[in-house]
């Protein structure tokens, strides 16, 4: 009798094309019971497409889908995936904000019907939330629209793990910790190990390599729609994983740190509304100032206020020059989806591009082309629609918009979240170059690594600045310490 665990799902030769783009170029995938598969790769590697096919929300152009030994390729869809115990938590939150937590459970679980279904749904979701995220503080009757992003993510995850009729076989988690703070992320990953030990399987997609290496049993690396490497997690190190993805993982240049704090007048001064102790955030010319701390603790609010109120020099927010904001949530804050790449880039610089009343088309095109080269946007033509770019390149276009404008101060709202490593390195270099030219940067980031590029870091907690650290005094431990503890730095 063979001791190998049974196969839950098997994909053979999956191919998918979107117009001219080959999202999947022939992928073989097999998931056994009781395993956590880690999936890593660039943006555009095909991970999300692959997961969509597994979850039944996209049909492959070619390929065979086998579930528990049965060929189910024909007519496979979201409903049949659900019936076979396959769930998916996508990167974009998919709750209905006008419904309560319990009602959202019903949307995913049609079995919850009949008299008294609301109470049953409430009990189920609360129990699951307690199991995965003890101390979550969410009530089943709350309307999702009123919850913070982190809590919505928790509900989303709990909903996927809730069992009503069919037993849970496979749960796909696509960047599940992106909206969670460190504590909730840890709780989730621990729960994933529990689930796997209990016989079900999970697929974990994450760009946080530490998460993958710490949680997955097996790791699969994808690039350009194909699987390029698949080994047990223990056979990988962080560096070997990055090099397997085929991108250059350069060491950050740790130049000598020279504080720019004394150079003249502060370009930016900001004091959060709930700051009681008089501390304020300052940034000087050519500085890269980092905003750290758990996500959702006031960093974005501060940046938005600076962007919208700073010029008017209100009491608490002051900027000494034009300001540009690089959005992190590009769909809601950054991209103009009907416009070309060129128009998306030029929109912040329209006055400078005008001659009299009219916008000079030639100058506009030149600006876009110039930045295409400088920031390496991968596109054959800047007159193409912005959505023809991959996510990382769209983010580059947003950077080009800010850099190409007259802004002396650039605010960045966690713009590199979910972006591939290669693009990140390119952007870091650009930021350093621009700062050397005299631009001031305020950089809210949720990744500790990126803080090492900053000259000065302010740690936020509960909407207030609780620590400020110069680069030579910066350490991961101190940042974490301030993010959680009451003690001053």
């Amino acid at each position: 009798m063979a001791d190998t665990p049974a196969e839950i799902v098997r994909l053979d030769g999956a191919e998918k094309q979107f117009g001219a783009v080959r999202a999947l170029a022939g992928v073989d995938l097999a998931i056994r019971t009781s395993e956590c598969l880690g999936l890593v790769g660039h943006n555009g590697a095909g991970k999300s497409t692959l997961m969509n096919i597994l979850a039944g929300t996209a049909a492959p152009d070619r390929g065979r889908i086998t579930i528990e030994g049965r060929d189910l390729t024909f007519g496979y869809g979201a409903a049949s995936a659900h019936r076979h115990g396959i769930r998916c938590v996508f990167q974009e939150l998919s709750l209905c904000p006008n419904l309560t937590v319990a009602e959202n459970l019903r949307i995913m679980h049609p079995a919850l019907s009949g008299f008294g279904w609301q109470r049953r749904a409430g009990r189920l979701i609360t129990a699951k939330l307690d199991e995965i995220f003890p101390g979550h503080g969410i009530s089943a009757g709350e309307i999702v629209g009123d919850l913070s992003i982190a809590r919505r993510q928790m509900v989303e995850v709990a909903r996927a793990f809730t069992v009503t009729e069919e037993p849970l076989r496979l749960v796909i988690l696509d960047e599940p910790t992106s909206s969670l703070d460190a504590r909730a992320a840890g709780q989730l990953l621990a729960f994933v190990r529990q689930v796997v030990a209990g016989g079900a399987s999970t697929i974990l997609i994450s760009h946080l390599l530490g998460e993958i290496l710490g949680t997955a049993d097996r790791v699969m690396v994808m690039r350009d729609g194909k699987v390029v490497d698949a080994r047990p997690a223990g056979d990988f190190t962080r560096n070997s994983l990055v090099s397997a993805m085929g991108s250059v993982a350069r060491e950050e240049i740790s130049a000598d740190f020279a504080s720019k704090r004394q150079e003249g007048v502060a370009q930016v001064r900001a004091q959060p509304l709930s700051q009681g102790d008089g501390r304020e955030l300052t940034a000087f010319r050519g500085e890269v100032v980092g905003l750290a701390g758990l996500s959702g603790h006031g960093q974005t609010e501060l940046l938005v206020r600076l962007a919208t109120e700073g010029r008017a020099s209100s009491e608490r927010y002051h900027v000494a020059g034009p300001v540009a904001l690089v959005a992190g949530d590009r769909q809601s804050d950054g991209i103009f989806p009907l416009w070309s790449i060129a128009r998306n880039i030029s929109v912040r610089s329209l006055k400078a591009l005008s001659r009299g009343l009219l916008i000079d088309a030639a100058r506009e095109a030149a600006l876009a082309d110039d930045w295409r080269r400088r920031i390496n946007i991968r596109t054959p033509d800047v007159a193409n629609n912005i959505l023809s770019l991959s996510g990382g390149n769209q983010q580059k276009a947003l950077f080009a918009r800010a850099f190409g404008s007259d802004a002396a101060i650039v605010l960045m709202d966690d713009p590199l979240r979910g972006v591939d490593v290669g693009t990140k390195q390119e952007i870091y270099a650009m930021i350093r170059a621009e700062a050397a030219e005299g631009r001031t940067f305020l950089w809210y980031t949720t990744e500790m690594d990126e803080l090492r590029h900053c000259d000065h870091v302010y740690v936020f907690r509960n909407g207030r600045i609780v620590a400020d650290l110069a680069r030579d005094a910066l350490s991961e431990e101190k940042v974490l310490h301030s993010s959680f503890e009451e003690a001053a730095s």
């Binding site: 929300t57 869809g77 979201a78 409903a79 659900h82 996508f90 998919s94 709750l95 209905c96 904000p97 006008n98 419904l99 009602e103 959202n104 019903r106 949307i107 995913m108 049609p110 919850l112 019907s113 009949g114 279904w117 609301q118 009530s139 709350e142 309307i143 629209g145 009123d146």
Partner: protein
């Protein structure tokens, strides 16, 4: 969390409070209205308007808008005053056909990804044209059973009040508490996820539009039951009244946030507003304008309450 509850409670009470305030103002101006007979006169027309408002609410729930409801109610009223009376089987068949047509419009809007404002605009021409063909001049006669229902003499309070409350209650149960109602509303909140979860968006849209067609038809029947005869233009103003009623009742254009009870109360408020104006002995030139002013006033009040609540 309790703060949320009280803010939402207050906002959901606002339509009822506006209604009460309006009622009080009317009684102050015309004490004779504070009787069974008076209330009946005041709120009679609330029933067809409430039905039309509920119909509009279904469409608004899925992020669409129905600019044809007024013309449609007019047409069904004409059908009720002619075929329904003379050959009931034909009449009922036609009305069922209308509901099916409404569902088909919903399907078209979904399948071709069309703006509902324009499609329903076109449909308003169609319904009006049909009504004009059926009844080129005002006429017809309501069937006896319809007159009997609408003229019911209920104890304590007029039939209109019981009918409106009952309507709101039934639709509330169906849309807000039932299992499928949740899916219908969810489609307004996040259509993509609902579709991804395996629910048929096509069925959802068709259901909502069919419900609009059903309640619109009921509105036409109720209207004819009150006015005894019909004409093609009898309910054109219902289009804008129904939209206003949904909004007054706390509903929102996008996001799937609606309230059936609120819609009914909003409809009643608007019905009363017309009477209120005539009691004010307003210069007839300004009657129309005053309706606009009332609408603005109520919405301004809602804003003030929301602001005040946020500051606490």
């Amino acid at each position: 969390m309790t703060a949320f509850v009280s803010a939402r409670l207050l906002r959901s009470l606002l339509p009822a409070l506006s209604l009460a305030a309006l009622l009080a103002a009317i009684f102050y101006l015309e004490p004779r209205a504070m009787s069974y007979f008076g209330l009946n006169l005041l709120l009679n027309l609330a029933v067809p308007i409430a039905l039309a408002t509920i119909a509009q609410m279904f469409v608004i729930t899925v992020n669409d808008l129905d600019l044809s409801i007024g013309a449609y109610v007019g047409f069904t009223a004409c059908v009720a005053a002619t075929w329904l009376k003379d050959s009931p089987v034909l009449g009922i068949a036609v009305l069922l056909g209308c509901i099916a047509l409404y569902a088909a419009v919903g399907a078209l809007i979904y399948l071709r990804d069309l703006p509902s404002i324009v499609v329903t605009l076109g449909m308003s021409f169609v319904w009006q044209g049909l009504a004009v063909l059926l009844l080129p001049t005002p006429g017809g006669h309501a069937p006896g059973w319809l007159l009997a229902i609408m003229g019911l003499r209920t104890p304590f309070l007029p039939f209109a009040i019981f009918a409106s409350i009952g309507l709101g209650f039934i639709v509330h149960l169906g849309l807000m508490r039932s299992a499928y109602g949740v899916v219908l509303r969810g489609a307004g909140g996040n259509a993509r996820s609902v579709a991804r979860a395996g629910w048929s968006m096509l069925k959802i849209k068709m259901t909502m539009f069919a419900l609009a067609g059903l309640f619109g038809a009921l509105s036409g029947l109720a209207l004819v039951g009150l006015t005894t005869s019909a004409d093609a233009n009898i309910a054109l103003r219902y289009t804008l009244l129904s939209i206003a009623g949904v909004i007054l009742g706390g509903g929102e254009f996008v996001g799937g946030r609606v309230s059936p009870m609120g819609a009914v109360i909003g409809a009643a408020t608007l019905t009363l507003a017309a009477s209120f104006l005539s009691f004010l002995r307003l210069n007839p030139d300004w009657q129309i304008g005053a309706q606009g002013a009332i609408l603005i006033l109520v919405l301004a009040l809602r804003l003030l309450v929301t602001r005040w609540e946020r500051q606490r």
